[in-house]
Symmetry: C3
Subunit: 328 residues, 3 copies
């Protein structure tokens, strides 16, 4: 594969270019093909070490990155916060530097605080070491690999063989739910606003503050405190996970009321474009963000495809950033 | 290896046929031979993903399945319940479907509730996907791989080179201990009753309710509330792990009294056949289920052989069910 | 590589010979070279199983051993104490014997109690099985692989291409901090005292009892209750991690006072030899054992090199003890 990829770390989608999105989509197609072969493996990252530094625990995303790294033939080191030196007072940067000294070539980082992957990447650059950092979710800030697998999933619906960003032109995409606290929403908004789509956000006012309208630079972002105008003729509906903590924080009256006002149901789907598809980053609270039968309906739900896309897209991301020091 | 294996999932031994038992034994012999070579590995499951979904934690069984899968060259994903989406409200079926979407080909499932592996297998079949499910212990229901490694261990004692079920004909096998709560006992009872053996159960009445006699369809099951008649001339004695919780549940007066009445000791062994062998699924409470010195006596104890058999038998099981979609 | 290595287990450095140290250093050089190649892997331990039995949790040391074992192409089984049979009443020796029966060839053992790796090694020898035991830290007793990676790091400073113990002759090495509770200190003291160095221990009296002077058989051990005489003209300063528990145990007034009296700072470094280097086994409490800026100064700090050395030295140790049954 030839490519002009230059980006060393994937930390946020705020400044991604259309060309970069297309390179990722094309690379992910290649890896989707690898995954359809019998052996499913390529020697791309042989001898390299991928350190999964999940300071915030996660089974789903960690497993996806782990499988992606294995299929690139990398060696994997899993950092488990529960049993770590962190409880012994070591700083996060020192933990990262320990894995660097051990031989980590790529670091996949999740942390409950925004900015941690950025800080580690900056430290690696300051040290002038050939280490790539991939943000696997930082606080309420960004979760780029999730938005990129969403992009790959959506573009694959529009053209399975040649997913590319040009297909998105003029599409209406609704993002529904707890936007305020969602790093998935922020990464998706940054991505989609730059790609000639119309992005409609819908949530109760407590979960969709007005300051989100600052992102509206290309005149293609719309905020709604009711779900109906967002769904109207929408091509894709992205639902967001609702943390049950929001109730105890008095941001929501009840799950039942949330579902009544913002849950995706078969009758609400009538508002959308007839070919509408639904996404959810998982794990789903059945009957809250989305009605249970709709979640399982392959005519509408892309949830399984998102998980499947995740492995191919994460292989692409590890491969691409790894290219930036291929003389290693 | 040629075989007629047709069974897609291994969930329970209730309906296993003698031919299936012999296929498993023969396949396990082949893998026992692989394990005696220097490299110890075969490429059988290369490119396939084995997902260890241990909703109930276990080090021993998980390690055994993990090593079996590694030696078949599979990729392994470990699901760790403590740090999982389950705590976030995801259903068990949705967790399994996430691993399916990620690319899992075989799922090894342990859960504290009976029926979970069955439910996951039924869902996979409903979805018409080529995924195999292996029950690694569900509640107090079944633990088929444990009973199968016990079978392999016993038959290997009777003929090391050609373990086969015909060797069991007429053998008396005692199962002693907390039968009521034991999935190991249930799987072993189902297996042994169908194989021309005489199965004698022995336990205090609180741990051996009368309803177990319903399993006596071939007139070869015997229930005892004292240990002596079960041990008399027994060829094999299977002891079961005693959970200390049984005391707080008022099912047992004390560990000491249990040992006095049902513990396997050297003097009690006098009652058995001179070549008697003792099994225990582990982990053992030394001096409770079995006296400490007897446990370490290689003339009587098969405990180490059971663990060793476990790897070969689990390789056989993963291999055989994997055959059912070899066109994959 | 040719070698006369005979030692089956690495449990303590108390009786190591200079020839053994040099063999380890030379072997580690070879593996340091392997780590600088693109694939970074050798097939040395292919088919062998390394069981990491970390009864006391540790991310740093376990990751280091895991990476070392992977790069020797071994299969790895990780034992996680939280989810283990230990909570079910199994003895430590029985846990080790379970991993033996499963097929473990090498056991890397950490335990909060002194003597556990020794007890497991003795049991393996009694059973006459070809299993190697490596102590990865036992209570306040020994941590041989840490002292050996310190040795490799120090000797590499003195001659990068040919690290060897002869380079240490006459060097003054200060060990500063909580010596009483440190297995790292004990292993380093045993190693360095046998190698013609001058070893100066410095700590408050509560953390450096007089009985350490019993180790002074070659007249090269010196105890100080102030830091200055230890640092004076020192070639290397080994700082030790200070557990915060020491305060609640009334062994120390405060971290601030400890740092004031025993912390390594730029001004204290004036006392040392101009080429002085500082070591710390990690994780570091910045501003306690060592001032934060000094820790990051590559002119003085060897902390990163220690971590890097760890992988090569642990590869060497696993390789060397594995040689003792190469007919396996």
């Amino acid at each position: 594969m030839e490519t002009n990829w230059k980006r060393k770390h994937i930390l946020s989608l705020r400044d991604f270019t259309p060309a970069e999105y297309n390179t990722i989509l094309q690379t992910a197609i290649s890896f989707r093909e690898v995954l359809s072969t019998r052996t499913k493996k390529v020697p791309t990252l042989q001898g390299r070490v991928v350190a999964n530094l999940f300071f915030e625990p996660s089974t789903r995303t960690r497993s996806s990155f782990e499988l992606a790294a294995k299929r690139l033939s990398a060696d994997i080191l899993n950092f488990s916060p529960g049993t770590s030196s962190l409880t012994k007072g070591e700083t996060i940067l020192d933990t990262a530097k320990t894995y660097l000294a051990m031989g980590a070539d790529l670091m996949v980082i999740r942390h409950k605080n925004a900015g941690v992957p950025q800080a580690i990447a900056a430290e690696m650059d300051r040290l002038k070491v050939k280490v790539n950092v991939l943000n696997a979710g930082d606080g309420q800030h960004q979760h780029p690999s999730q938005a990129l697998l969403d992009l790959f999933t959506i573009c694959s619906v529009l053209d399975l063989d040649k997913p590319r960003i040009e297909l998105l032109k003029g599409k209406k995409i609704a993002i529904v739910g707890d936007i305020l606290h969602s790093r998935v929403a922020r990464s998706n908004i940054d991505c989609l606003l730059s790609l000639d789509t119309q992005v409609h956000l819908a949530a109760p006012p407590t979960l969709l503050p007005n300051f989100f309208s600052k992102k509206n630079k290309n005149n293609n972002l719309f905020l709604h405190w009711k779900i109906e105008p967002a769904l109207e003729n929408a091509d894709f509906v992205m639902t967001l996970r609702l943390q049950k903590e929001r109730m105890t924080e008095h941001l929501l009256p009840s799950l039942r009321e949330y579902h009544q006002n913002f849950g995706i149901t078969r009758s609400r789907l009538q508002l959308c474009h007839p070919h509408v598809k639904i996404l959810h980053p998982g794990p789903v609270n059945r009957g809250v963000e989305i009605s249970s039968d709709l979640m399982d309906d392959p005519n509408f739900s892309l949830i399984s495809q998102q998980v499947t896309s995740g492995v191919a897209v994460r292989m692409a991301l590890l491969y691409l950033i790894g290219l930036t020091h291929d003389d290693k």
